[in-house]
Amino acid sequence: MNDGKFQKRSVLLLLYIAFALLPIYWMVNMSFKTNEEILSSFSLFPQHFTWANYKTIFTDESWYSGYINSLIYVAINTVISITVALPAAYAFSRYSFLGDKHVFFWLLTNRMTPPAVFLLPFFQLYSTMGMMDTHIAVALAHLLFNVPLAVWILEGFMSGIPREIDETAYIDGYTFPRFFLTVFLPLIKAGVGVAAFFCFMFSWVELLLARTLTSVNAKPIVATMTRTVSASGMDWAVLAAAGTLTIVPGAIVIWFVRHYIAKGFAMGRV
């Protein structure tokens, strides 16, 4: 009976994996075709296999600089988000203080605000401060939704760590910073990994703010892609190649994070 149940679950998983991969496969498939082939015939494999679309991206600076710009602001954003979120999440998970629940919920409300609402104010704010078209501007704008998310995820993970560990450490004479960095942080590695992954992800895929706050020097890849769609008709093939490449950095990040998720919490074995 157990086996039967197990099999049913595996079937669900396999079906879902197929469902998850097919549209992506179709894009990868298209990235190796020419535009004529995409629009004229229907085939499961590229008939006239070509690297030309990828060559276009790697040789044209307006294309590949998009990837570099995106990576820079995403990295800045992830580092800032996690750094400020760690102590805050600790405070929320360990202490009660004046207005704690309200502040926590207020943080979440920022995650709930549609970016469209902030478009115009951000534009004016960063113009006034002369920060338009810089990586830091996009990174700061993305803090809006990434900091609350990081605090939220980390708080959940930290609450799973028994408070006795903190108390024992203080009795042993650890100062707060030393305890936090050498004892506590290793315990919530999984949480930090997951939070960093989500910060990376949400910053990487965001289009509206990133596009509005940049023009040339910090133009992200997602904006480069929309421009190509509207300017030169529908260049499906290059677009598919660019889309395929946008998955690569994320896939690398999740590959590293996977250990943190899979190993689970150290607390189970303490």
């Binding site: 679950r9 998983l13 879902y16 994996i17 998850a20 097919l22 549209p23 992506i24 179709w26 995409i38 229907f42 499961l44 400020v84 805050a88 405070a91 929320f92 360990r94 009660s96 203080f97 704690d100 943080l107 979440l108 409300t109 995650r111 709930m112 605000t113 549609p114 469209a116 609402v117 902030f118 115009l120 104010p121 951000f122 004016q124 704010l125 803090l143 900091v147 605090v151 997951v194 992800m201 990487w204 289009l207 890849i221 892609m225 929309t226 769609v229 889309g243 946008t246 998955i247 950095p249 994320g250 896939a251 999740i254 998720i261 899979a262 689970g264 919490f265 607390m267 189970g268 074995r269």
Partner: protein
């Protein structure tokens, strides 16, 4: 639940507070400022009070968009949460299989949103897309640009494809945090699989599940880029959701006042829903804990 009171904890919150205040409170005040004025030119502005709010509230198109949005968000939750839990339970816990599944499942999350729209735009086309062509071969007339119901379902399917992994990953992380001792105790007690799920896995997943439900609700409520690329809000207004309506007003017609008023109403609607959901789930969670303690 009785944490020690420590007002100094505010110092730990301070960095977050400054960051978010800079990127949220200041811009939000600008929006409030717009919502009560008629801006004729940068130099000439007239205070109009709540006029914009009143006119926005009476807007028939807004009601349609709101109704559309609600149905969509509820459908998203109804499909993605059970599917995500199911996937998390089915995912292998160890070994290369677990790593491979994690990476494959997370893939769709990392695709920029306009690319997601583009992928499905192609995937669903009857002439060049795999899904469109397959449905055509099966004798189903399929067109996400012509048929309102099909367009709506395609957007839903796209969202399920795009976001179920988020639910699955969060639940998976939650499941992995359950110590083996719990399962051993359940085995000794002869607990059924259902009982293990109901009394061990589900309560332990409560935290991550709450994150998943709220995130999916908020994000589906703000969905913009994907349907914009896929259907452009059509056919008719079948897939026009709130964000699209707002952007049409703010950027398309450049009605700053009404757009700002609508932004605030939009924000308040999401706030209200999330407040209710958040409190409800907190209560359910507490009740669960008491149930276990008995």
């Amino acid at each position: 639940m009785n944490k020690p009171v420590n007002q100094k904890a505010w110092f730990l919150i301070l960095p977050v507070f400054i960051c978010v205040a800079f990127s949220a409170i200041v811009p939000l005040m600008t929006v409030v400022n717009y919502s009560v004025q008629d801006i004729i030119s940068p130099e000439r502005r007239v205070f109009v009070g709540t006029e914009w709010f009143a006119s926005v509230m009476r807007d028939e198109d807004l009601h349609a968009a709101l109704w559309n949005q609600l149905r969509f968000s509820l459908a998203v939750l109804a499909v993605e949460i059970p599917l995500g839990i199911g996937l998390a339970l089915a995912m292998p816990a160890q070994g290369w299989k677990s790593s491979a599944t994690l990476v494959i499942i997370a893939l769709s999350l990392l695709i920029p949103w306009n690319v997601v729209g583009t992928i499905w735009q192609i995937f669903g086309r009857a002439d060049i897309g795999l899904m469109g062509a397959t449905l055509e071969k099966l004798g189903i007339e399929y067109s996400y640009t012509g048929n309102a119901t099909q367009a709506w379902l395609t957007v839903l399917l796209m969202d399920v494809w795009h976001w179920t992994p988020l639910v699955a990953l969060l639940c998976y992380a939650g499941l992995r945090s359950i110590p083996d001792a719990y399962y051993q105790a359940a085995r000794i007690d002869g607990a059924s699989k259902l009982a293990v799920f109901r009394y061990i896995q589900l309560p332990k997943m409560r935290g991550v599940l709450m994150i998943a439900v709220l995130l999916r609700f908020m994000d589906s409520f703000m969905i913009y880029t994907e349907p914009f690329v896929l259907t452009g809000g059509g056919p008719g207004n079948a897939t026009t959701f709130l964000s699209q309506y707002l952007t049409q007003k703010a950027v398309g017609q450049f009605d700053l006042g009404p757009a700002a008023a609508f932004s605030l109403i939009y924000f308040l609607i999401i706030l209200l829903f999330c407040f209710v959901l958040y409190n409800w789930m907190q209560r359910v969670g507490t009740a669960d804990k008491e149930g276990v303690a008995e």
